[in-house]
Each structure stands twice: as C-alpha cells, then as structure tokens.
Amino acid sequence: MNGSYLDSYAPLLLMFLLAAGLAAVLIIASSVVGRHLKVRAKDQPYECGIRPTGDAREPYSVHFYMVAMIFILFDIEAIFLYPWAIVFKQLNMFGFVEMLLYIAILVVGYIYLWKKGALEWK
C-alpha cells in the first residue's frame, strides 16, 4: 500500500534472514570442519544399547491411528466448549440451544463411530 507500512516489517525480515543465515552457517561449518567416519555400526538404529532385532520400521496397527484420530477430533471439539463457557451469560438461551445442537452433532458422530465398530480393538 505504502512504503512506511511495509517498512514496519523490516525488522521481521532482518530476523528471518539472521536465523536462516545462522542455521546455514552452522550446517555448512559442521560439514566442512567435522570429521566423517563411515562405520557400519553408526548407521544402525539405536535401541538403548541392545543389539537390534528385526526391522526397525515395524508398521503400527492401523487401529492405533484410528483411535488417535478420534481422540484428537473429539478433544478439539470439546475445547470449543471453553470459549462458550466464558460468554455463557451473555449468550443466554441462544448460546445454550446452539451448544445443544453442537453436542447433538457430536453425538451423531459418536453413534456412527460406535456402530461402525471403530472403537473395537480387534
């Protein structure tokens, strides 16, 4: 819009450049200065000093992700209740009905999950 407006971002840009520059310098310096030893043991996964058995990249059961996802979803949705709690008095009946609707929608999701068997660990 005008120069002075963008100017106010200049310190930010400076900081961004400094940070990027520092990171770059550190990485380059370590690769230039440091010693590189390629040993087989060095490439092996570290498991508390025990000799590794089998493949480190073992797939997790997909149920794990499912539960994690469901947890996050419901958790975040529950968080919406907090801001509502703060303005509960002002919103009055309107807010109450809205929240009831909101929770009803959550319950629909819950019933869906339940009946689809997403909560069962097979």
Binding site: M1, N2, G109, Y112, K115
Partner: protein, 480 residues
C-alpha cells in the same frame, strides 16, 4: 447481537443438505449391507428438499450473518446448478456403486456435505466463509475420489488430490491473510471500498494473486490444472462427473464475487493474468486431449479446455460476461454430467471399457446410449442447437463486446482443434466395427432418468436459451 431468524432461512439449503447428510450417517450403521441403496434415495430426497428450500431462500434475499453470506439471484443460480448436479449424480451412482461393490451410505453423505460446502462457497461474501465452504467441499471430495478403496489408482488419485489440494488451499489462506493485512477486513464490500479509497497496493495484489492460486486450482485454470487428468481418471466416474461440474461452478462463482465485486476496480491488474491463464488452459486442455486414447482422461482434458472458454467470458468482466459464465456453467454441467455418467455406464465392472476402441460399435449395439453420448460430445464440441454452442457464443460475444479480440480468436481456433478429438469418439461409435463382445448393459430407471434429463437440458439450452440467459443476466445484475 444475535443473528435474526431470517438468516437461518437464507442458509436453508445448506442446513437441509447437512441435516440429510447427518441423517444418512446416523441411519447407515443400522441398515444391512444389502439395502444400502436406500441411503442413496434418502440423500436424493435431501437434494430435492434442498432444491425446494431454494425457493424459501429466494423469498428471503439479502445479506446474512453480518455480511458473511448473501442470498441473491447469483447465489441462487449457482446453488441450483450444484445441487442439481449432485442430485443427478446420486441417481447416476446407484448402479455404478453396485457394480464396484462399494455401495455405502457414507458415499451419499459425503456428496451432501460437499454440496453444502459448494453452496456456502457460492453464497459467501467474505473470505473466511469462502474458505470454510472451500474446505468443506474439498475434504469431502478428497475422500470421494478415493472411494474405491481396493483400487490402487483410486487411492493414488485421492492422495494426490489431497496433498495438492491442501497445498493450494494454503496459498488461498495466505492470500486471505494478506488481504486482511492490507484492508483490515475480509468482507468483499469492505475490500472493494478500501480499493476505491486507497487503490490496490502491492500487499493487496499479492493477496489477490495467492487467492487466484487457490481458486485456480479448483476451477482447473492453468497453470494449476496439473492434477486434473490423474485425479479425474482415478476417481470413481460418477465422482469425476461431480468434480467436473459442481466444485468448478462453485469456485467460479466465488471467484466472480472476489474478482468482479471485491477487486472489480483493480481489474486492470488481474485482466492480463486471466487472459494468459485462459489461453494456457484452453491450449493445454485441447492439445493434450488430442493424443488421449482413454475416454475418461480425454474428457478430463476437455474439462480443462472448457475452463479456459469460461475464463474467456470471465476476462470480459462485464455484466454480460458474468451472465455468459453462468450460462456456460449451467450448459456445461448438463452435458459434462451426462457424458461422464455414460462413461461410467459403458465402463462396466472395474471400469474396464474406457478406451476409444472400446466404444466401437456402440452406435449399432446400444443406439440410444450412443445417441445420447453423441449429443453430449456434439454439445461439448459446440455444434449449433446444443447448449455448448450457445455457451461458447455468449462467452465469445461478451469478450468481443469488451474488444478482447485476440483471446476470442485463439479460443475459436481452440474449439476447432477440440472438434477433432470429440469427433474421434463419435466416429469410433458409429463407423468402427466392434472387435469385442458387448455384454448386456441393463439401463435401470434412475440412470435412464438422469440421461434423459441431461439430454433434454442440453437441447433445451441450445434451442431455447433465452429463459436461462435471462436468469443469468438477472443473476449477473444482482452481483454488483
């Protein structure tokens, strides 16, 4: 402080769609696997109720929720297109889902949610609302694209669509942020006033550029069309049909609102971007389609090319140009929906019959299907007395009115090139001998109705375009 009750009426179509979507989700777990088709009928009923509720919304025109959403002729027009597309696509999906063994309630629920998102997109007069609508429709369609879970291609295209789509959405969001930074508002009218008062600074224009990236992705404008062929090819064909019509229409609608209403006074800035993009889109779509042997992929490229033609009318940035875009979207929706659903029907189990050679002999073996397909292809080609022709006529005419001559010349050349690949399919259907046995293709009532309606619409728009054009002009008028 509280929104008036009337605002609820204004978003009635969206409410209906969401309510029916949730109803489907709720009932679906209790319905035995063999009876899932009933969920489709429920969803179809939902779209019908939503269409009916448009009338209700129409009686309560005006701005809702302190300027976040608006019901006007424009919004109603686009609503009618996207809901109509979904309704017909639902009907056209029944047999397909049965054949592919993926008849599930979620499919229909997702279509309803996506449609609600598109509706929000069409009515939004504020960037965040637009974003919500965009995400709602996008996320639902990401899943729909991958609905054939056991087919690798479908998974791949779903993932691709998801990754690239979120990527583009991020640009869009960034654009919103910059616009807000420059004008202290995300409402279109305020942005418009700010530009009128202070002009469009670099920050704001940068914001507009990024918004164009996000929406260009949705309307498949070059250079953001890149994902289209892969995603369209991998998606279940009825979903492809929706993708090619619904989200495109909704995204064009919000793009019109943003570019034409909010950034209207900065049109000298974005005009050339649209100009270049239109040419690139048309050329890439048409030239790439020339070498395709797969009908589904060919139609995907064709849909890119058509986005280019729509951009021609878009570039006109006049009232008649906006009307031309709307007319084109409606005519295009009818013919493309019909064409893709025929591809779905002819494709058979596992979509094995997709190549042009596979269509050889369709004209003699299934004359009615072939005749319908030929009609849609002719309309896509732009033959007179079809909707496609008048769409192009209006689009080019509106651009000529604004003295955008070269763009129209290039567009006209492109539509001639396009004739080649459409005719290739027609020739195969009618003049090539079939080398494969044709399994019987029973046509059930829902599919029959869909094809009938789309064919009638295609002819109707071509022969008696005036009613639709009057509506489109009234809609364009309501946009200012």
């Amino acid at each position: 402080m509280f929104p008036p009750l009337q605002d609820l009426y204004r978003i009635a179509p969206e409410l209906v769609l969401c309510a029916f979507g949730m109803l489907v989700m709720l009932i679906d777990p209790f319905v035995p696997a063999t009876r899932k088709r009933s969920m489709g009928w429920l969803a179809f009923a939902g779209t019908l109720v939503a269409l009916a509720s448009l009338r209700w919304a129409a009686l309560n025109q005006g701005s809702a929720y302190s300027g976040l959403f608006r019901v006007d002729m424009f919004s109603l027009f686009v609503h009618a297109i996207v809901i109509g597309v979904s309704a017909l696509a639902i009907l056209g999906s029944f047999d397909y889902l049965d054949r592919e063994n993926i008849q599930r309630g979620e499919y229909y629920a997702l279509i309803l949610f996506a449609t609600a998102g598109m509706g929000i997109l069409a009515g939004s007069t504020e960037l965040i609302t637009a974003f919500v609508g965009l995400e709602m429709s996008s996320i639902s369609t990401y899943i729909l694209v991958g609905f054939r879970r056991t087919v690798l291609k479908s998974n791949e295209s779903s993932l691709k669509y998801f990754l690239l789509g979120s990527f583009a959405t991020a640009f869009f969001l960034y654009g919103i942020a910059l616009t807000y930074g420059a004008t202290r508002s995300t409402r279109f009218d305020v942005v418009n006033q700010a530009i009128a008062a202070h002009g469009a600074g670099p920050l704001l224009i940068l914001g507009l550029g990024l918004i164009f990236v996000g929406l260009g992705f949705k309307v498949v404008a070059a250079p953001f069309q890149i994902y289209t062929p892969d995603v369209y090819e991998g998606a279940p064909t009825p979903v492809t049909a929706i993708l090619a019509c619904g989200p495109k229409a909704a995204a064009f609608a919000v793009m019109l609102r943003i570019f034409y209403s909010a950034f209207g006074s900065a049109s000298h800035v974005w005009f050339w971007a649209i100009w270049v993009s239109a040419i690139l889109t048309m050329c890439i779509g048409n030239f790439a389609a020339l070498v395709q042997t797969n009908v589904k992929r060919l139609l995907a490229y064709s849909s890119i090319a058509h986005a280019g033609y729509i951009l021609v009318a878009f570039a006109a940035a006049s009232e008649i140009g906006v009307a031309a875009v709307l007319f084109y979207l409606a005519a295009y929706a009818a013919m493309t929906l019909g064409a893709f659903l025929i591809v779905a029907h002819v494709g058979g189990t596992n979509e094995q019959r997709l190549n042009i050679e596979d269509y050889a002999g369709l004209g003699t073996k299934h004359p009615w299907i072939a005749a319908c397909f030929a009609l849609f292809l002719f309309s896509l080609l732009g033959l007179p007395a079809t909707g496609g022709f008048l769409g192009k006529l209006y689009a080019f005419q509106s651009a000529l009115d604004q003295r955008i001559v070269w763009l129209v010349v290039i567009a006209a050349v492109n539509s001639v090139i396009g004739a080649y690949y459409y005719l290739k399919v027609v020739v195969a259907m009618y003049f090539h001998e079939s080398n494969k046995e044709w399994a019987p293709m029973p046509m059930r009532a829902p599919m029959f109705v869909v094809l009938l309606l789309t064919a009638i619409a295609t002819i109707y728009f071509g022969v008696l375009p005036n009613r639709l054009m009057e509506l489109a002009i009234a809609s364009a008028r309501s946009l200012r």
